[in-house]
Amino acid sequence: MPAAIRNLRSDPQLLFVRLPNLLSLLCIVVGVVWLLLLPLNDYSRQTYISENALLPGQVHAYFTGSEQNIFRGYKKELEGLINEEREDGAQNPEVESTPAISNKIHSILQAAGLKVATQKYEYTSAGITHRGENVYGIIHAPRGDATEAIVLVAAWKTADDELNLNGVTLALTLARYFKRWSLWSKDIIFIFPPDSKTGTQAWIDAYHDLHPSSVQPLPLKSGALQGALVIEYPFDHRFKTLHIVYDGVNGQLPNLDLFNTAVAIAGGQMGIGANLQEMWQHDDSYEARLKTILRGMTKQGLGYATGAHSSFMPYHIDAITLQPKGEGWEDEMALGRTIESLCRSLNNLLEHLHQSFFFYLLMQSNRFVSIGTYLPSAMLLAGNFTIMAIALWMRTGYHSDPKLSGPTGSESSKLKSEKSSSPGTQKDVAETKTDGSAVAERVLALPLTLVSGLHLLGLVPLWIFNTIFHQYFTTVTYIFVAVDIVLPLLLAALLSNGLGISTPIVRQQYLLIKSFALLLLGLSLSTLATLNFSLAFMIGLLCTPLSFVVRLEGAAPLRYAISSLGLVLLNILSPPTVLIGICWYTGVPIETVLTQAAFGWDVWGMWTQVVVWCVWWPAWLIGCVLLGSSMF
């Protein structure tokens, strides 16, 4: 063993070039395989209720019988109003937020004995204005002191933009029904926003007094919100299963206890099956589990709001959406009873949900992996960049070996006499010895300036894509594809001419540029993995080629051929190309995706774009510059 280590130390080619490459590759492979192992029984766990106070399904739900008549009555009234509005102004697409309907809900809630208030709001994003009016009512807890509250939301438009008539009617019926119970120890707030994208966001921001000026403050408030349930029921027939949506903005998730309680009540007490991540046929096989995980990771990674519940997550309020799905024999009363039982469970809470996991990947309604098990896979991906960065740094420190110190001796002697290019830093070179253990002086100014400059440059596309009007999104994306092809070559040409102001760049500096770029990438991704695992994993996977991109040397024709091929391949993995590819594959127009993204940035506080433009894009650009510099 000591002999092997001595061997390793005496062979810098192996130690600094081959070994790091191998280690990096190993990290990537293990990271991906790790994720693929997660669905196996050995690595995942059965869900369980951690907070004993929840007692899911331990109470009898009384929401039946005569309440159904009330439901039908409310529905008739609302239907009538909507039809009237449609006849009056068929061209108005936002029929549901008209004053007449707001007033109707207002009067129904008031008649049921709730305190009612309204809130108008307006958001502008990518040149589109979203405006609407929230109506909400509060049941003050007969046994509470208005310090805590539960929220029930029924948006007029579901997350899929369908008319949520049954959901709204059910919420109204529940409001009337809940008001007559004396057992509530928390206030219950019913919100009726016009749609699932903006309404709850405006409401929750104003509830915490963090709303922009275009949003009205709330005239009526209650205590700290403990949990929120969103009701969707956009069709008239009976349903088969409950689809539970739980992803929040920026990949934040609700406490697993809330999800578990919903599954336990739906499945155990009501006998309704529960689905997640649109997996309608889940046969508990490996493939189905993996598919569920991957769907969850995609949603989490993109970080957009998947429903009206998502807006609650940034305020540390656990929330889920319940969507009835399929053709079955469960009616709206069954959904109502499920919600009643869920509210009773939340009502039992003595403190904020905190017992169970906040970081998890669900693979089935009753199986999950927790952060301790899955985090290593993203960390290994991020670690591969750090390993490479450290190896490159060490490699630049040794220049006794002719193979490593540059193609020609003249270049390394040039390095010795070089003054750095930046005016602020003047450097001399340490006396170095010939025995190979000495540290070579590194010329840091240019690599540091370039890497930090390119990272700052990322702010430009970030600003552009969040500011321009939506009709230009497609054009700008294609322009960026072109920019991504030209810019690296331009930078590489400039670099090899020493930017016109200094001595030509030497090989060591290319290695240092790569080292710093990978260090920053590894740094950002490992930080990101603690906040949004899926995004870190996806970006890490897309960036893996950057670990192995080098400035090629050797015979000119071969070098040109390989570097152009490499550039083409890298350009396929550039942020705009990936966006176009995904849009093409899923059939969603680019404009829709980017409008949604800009909306997320402006309204939801989503920061996926920051990661794309200030972490991924600069790292990718530097990789391309390195490869492109082989041509000059």
């Binding site: 934040q252 540390h316 602020g424 003047q426 603690t530």
Partner: protein, 423 residues
């Protein structure tokens, strides 16, 4: 005197950068002011505002139990316009203080004291940055910029220390002591720098006039000056507050007894949260003794390089102070480039800097998970402050190793470049 064009460019660019930051991101200063990494209970700008509010309404500023800073800051800040309605003058004032600090640094660097002192002459003298580069390093350090924008009062302590050192290397030992007195008056701990600073002054004095008094007499004289300056400042403070013991216990008592355990980047808060109250007094003593003990050790071992003692002690402060913030780290990072000639001897720079980078990204992320998202807990943030301290410690230990090695190579020219072996 010819105006140095490079210097004007660097200082101008630093000023404009700061100005652009507050113009384009007007909410940035308030955001940074609220960050625990920048604002501690003893330097927070928000708390200063509270004290100022009470002071301008003729209530004792220490009544609320929020304000713990030196009373002389109050009349100074009451001269500036109200921050809420007019934040720019205060910000510009801080920018100018930063530029003055950079000027002091440039003076220190240009004196060459870091490579050539009375008893020591570094081997790699030719690897050096000039004053403007060192000033640029300080002015464009993100930690300095963040500190400057967040407006903590520790910026003035930094000025006091830097001016004390710059006067000392110029041979103005009186001014040096007055500046140190000002820094000590503001935040107490700079008083620990007295011995190395007096040694620095002494070395300068001996170089100028060979018939200098003996070391002990010199140090006693300067101790008296320091004491006098602090006493004078305290006297002025009594004139302002009227109640000597109240402000003493609210400021220096607060520094010494560490009653506020708001999280910060240091190592004390978590330790004292976990501790049983009966042991508190004992461990307070141990922690302070530990912090102070470095002064003696460094002074004895590195006597030949007094400026390096000061640098190393500032590094120790950035790690082991009761209420450290990134402004302390930025002061340490400001002085490190003076020792550019030691960098070939340092072995773990990359790892130390990587650890610092990791912790400065992960720290805010974990703080967010703990405080805002509610999905983490205090241990997350504390773990990262440990990493931060570890990074600083590695840097500190490595630089001390390099300084010692440099001294040793000076003594043993034949052994230059040989590998170090632990015996």
């Amino acid at each position: 005197m010819a105006v140095d064009r490079r210097k004007v460019a660097v200082f101008g660019a630093a000023f404009v950068l700061r100005l652009l930051l507050i113009c384009f991101f007007p909410s940035l200063p308030d955001l940074l002011t609220g960050r625990v990494e920048v604002s501690t209970p003893v330097n927070s700008f928000k708390r200063l505002q509270e004290g100022l509010y009470l002071y301008t309404r003729n209530v004792s500023p220490y009544d609320g139990g929020v304000f713990h800073q030196a009373p002389l800051l109050l009349p100074l800040f009451s001269l500036l316009p109200d921050v809420k309605s007019n934040p720019v003058p205060t910000a510009v004032f801080y920018f100018l203080v930063d530029l003055l600090n950079a000027q002091a640094l440039a003076t220190i660097s240009e004196s060459g004291q870091s490579v050539q002192s009375r008893l020591h002459s570094a081997i790699r003298k030719h690897i050096r940055w000039d004053g403007v580069s060192v000033a640029a390093w300080f002015l464009f350090n993100p930690f300095t910029i963040a500190t400057c924008l967040a407006r903590p009062t520790s910026v003035f302590t930094t000025s006091g220390i830097l001016f004390a050192v710059s006067n000392a290397v110029d041979g103005n030992s009186l001014n040096a002591m007055l500046a140190l007195g000002f820094a000590s008056y503001l935040s107490l701990y700079p008083a620990l720098l007295f011995v190395p600073l007096a040694l620095l002054c002494y070395d300068q004095r001996v170089q100028k006039c060979p018939q200098a008094p003996s070391t002990v007499v010199f140090i006693l004289q300067h101790g008296a000056i320091l004491f006098g300056s602090i006493a004078g400042l305290l006297g002025l403070s009594v004139l302002i507050t009227g109640n000597f013991w109240e402000f003493m216990s609210a400021t220096y008592g607060f520094h010494l007894l560490v009653p506020d355990l708001t999280p910060n980047v240091g190592l004390w808060w978590y330790f004292f949260i976990e501790m049983f109250d009966s042991f508190r007094g004992f461990f307070l003593g141990v922690f302070w003794l530990h912090l102070a003990s470095y002064v003696g050790g460094f002074t004895a071992r590195l006597r030949r390089q007094p400026l390096f003692i000061i640098t190393a002690i500032l590094g120790v402060f950035a790690i082991f102070k009761p209420y450290p913030s990134i402004s302390d780290a930025s002061l340490y990072f400001a002085l490190l480039p003076l020792y550019r000639h030691l960098s070939p001897l340092m072995r773990y720079t990359f790892f130390a800097i990587s650890a610092l980078l990791y912790s400065s990204l992960l720290g805010p992320a974990f703080y967010h998970l703990w405080i805002y998202a509610g999905s983490g807990n205090a241990n997350f943030f504390y773990a990262i402050t440990l990493v931060w301290s570890l990074g600083l410690s590695i840097l500190l230990a490595d630089s001390i190793f390099a300084a010692l090695r440099d001294e040793w190579e000076q003594d043993h020219p034949e052994a230059k470049g040989q590998e170090v072996k632990q015996v």
